[in-house]
């Protein structure tokens, strides 16, 4: 392989546990810059756990995570805060702060990290909301909008600080097929416009096949990665039957 630039994300020998159960062991992979990268696998395999360990919401038992060549796992709190600025996370249910309006949800990170004047911050918030198709909803509270809208508002918040890496936890969960496709389109658009690196945890085969550049697939038995590569190549190539089965929704194995 050609020697490539520093990967946006580099995970080495990561072992994670959920409560007391060892979920994953020796997980290593790299995500290139401006790539749409999927972490896939059946429900309960530890995809979200892996994501939480990568972004510091959980502490890995073992291993290292590097962002743009800088170690995140061994960073001190100040360094970590600095690095957190460069990524956004779109939560499964949106996770909007319920006591704040949509606009305030987006202005909060801007207030924390920038010295922009108040009106400028509010204009940016309005622009972010418009980007995800929520123009005019600035003064609504999260309880007043639908699940799909919450999700999009959560994405707007994740994008607030122009992150270089955006993580998505099950973006299509709880969305109808059209809503899911629109979200996929939005994700593609963000990547194409801003060159954002995108990491998505999902088991939605349509969006995996639709927009993934590359993916890793996790497996319960091996507690690690059983396949890595572009979805097309994985389906066509000589990969584990489990992978083909998952990606094509066909039974491959006999019996």
């Amino acid at each position: 392989m050609i020697k490539e630039a520093t990967p946006a994300i580099e995970v080495t020998g990561l072992a994670c546990s959920y409560q007391d159960y060892k979920v994953l062991e020796g997980v290593s992979f790299k995500v290139r810059s401006a790539e749409i990268f999927f972490i896939v696998g059946p429900v309960g395999v530890g995809k979200t756990t892996l994501l939480r360990n990568m972004v510091g919401l959980a502490t890995p038992v073992h291993g290292e995570v590097r962002f743009n060549g800088r170690s995140f796992t061994s960073a001190d709190p100040a360094e970590r805060r600095e690095m957190l600025k460069s990524f956004g996370l779109s939560f499964q249910g949106g996770a909007l702060w319920t006591s704040l309006t949509l606009s305030e949800n987006i202005t909060l990170p801007l207030e924390e990290y920038t010295r922009l004047p108040r009106d400028e911050i509010e204009r940016i918030a309005a622009f972010r909301l418009a980007q995800v198709g929520l123009a005019g909803f600035e003064d609504y509270y999260p309880s007043e909008i639908s699940g799909g809208m919450k999700k999009r508002a959560g994405l707007a918040r994740a994008l607030a600080l122009d992150p270089t890496i955006v993580f998505f936890d099950e973006p299509s969960a709880g969305l109808d097929p059209i809503g899911a496709r629109n979200l996929d389109r939005l994700i593609l658009q963000i990547r194409d416009t801003f060159g954002t690196t995108i990491v998505i945890v999902s088991h939605d085969v349509d969006s995996i096949v639709g927009i993934a550049d590359r993916l890793i697939m996790l497996d319960v038995q091996t507690r690690g990665i059983i396949a890595e590569g572009p979805p097309g190549a994985l389906i066509a190539g000589p990969s584990d039957p489990k992978v083909v089965e998952f990606l094509t929704r066909r039974t491959v194995r006999s019996g």
């Binding site: 972004v55 919401l57 957190l84 956004g88 996370l89 939560f91 996770a95 702060w97 924390e112």
Partner: protein, 375 residues
Amino acid sequence: MPASQELTRARASARTEGSVLEVALEGPWRLDGETPRWSSVVGGARPSAVRLRADGVSRWDTSLVAFVGEAQRWCSDAGVACDTALLQEKMRLLGGQFAESLRAGARDDHSRSLLVEVGLSTREAMGETRDFLQFVGECWIGAKRLVAGQAGFRWNDCLGEMQKCGAMALPIVSLISFLVGITLAYSGAIVLRRFGGDIWVADLIGVAMTREMGAMMAGVVLAGRTGAAYAAEIGSMKANEEIDALTILGISPVRFLVLPRVLALGLMMPLLALYANCLGILGGMAVAYTTLDIPPAAYWVEMLTIVDLPDVAVGVIKSVVYGLIVGLSGCRRGLQAESNAAGVGQAATSAVVTAILFIIVADAVFAVVFNAIGL
């Protein structure tokens, strides 16, 4: 063979043909009706083979499946051939699945021995202690940064919380402290009257309210009113991943959620305690006037002979500490809550219990300390 008249309940009749036990199922097999059990049908018989037939069954559901399954399980455990050829295809299939689910060892052993349980609890307690110290440390660092003016403190949030925990608690604090004043006056009068010292009720109420009861009652009311609300609010934020959303943005939940709340309580509690003192004294005055015939002016003058600034100061110092206890335990339990609906309820309950427990403990410590320094 089907009975001539339709059966109203399920029946399983066993018949021995040589060494073969033939069990014929008849009637409607329904979960909500009475159905025979395999164990009672087979009794103590030891056949060399079992044959099941179901031509007389009019309707059936899982109750029949359970019967067939148990029969098959019994046969395979006893090493007896089980002939199900005369059953309907579906019954055979489902019965087989039922028998499989009865297989010993199919269920994971989830029980724990006493030793394991003790070990796990110990580890949990150690983890809890560490987490608690970490939480207190984080609050301390946050407070230090606040005093140094480094952190962008959310004064707006704090003011809102002050209104909620302070001003809006006035009615309930008024009622409770007034009633406490009344009950103290009545019980004091019982003793003091024996010595002809009715007037000393004023001294008793004055000292008890300012030193003890004002702060204590305000603390208990706020533990139930505000501490529980904090735990529930922060707990449901946690269940909704809102706390994670703060963390991922590098915003410390302690700075953003805990400090404004704890500070609000720390500031409002002394005011509420002073207010409770006044109301308690008024309650005592009312009893003194109506039942002991002590005029309010005499009551007031008598009270001032004993209540001094240090007494009021003792109450105020205590109330600040109680406020911090209520705020910290509410927020702590909220942040600790399990991420589900039951967890939120539990957090609210344990916030109140923790707060009241620590208020009482702190009161005892204060009693010893103030006695030692002669306050």
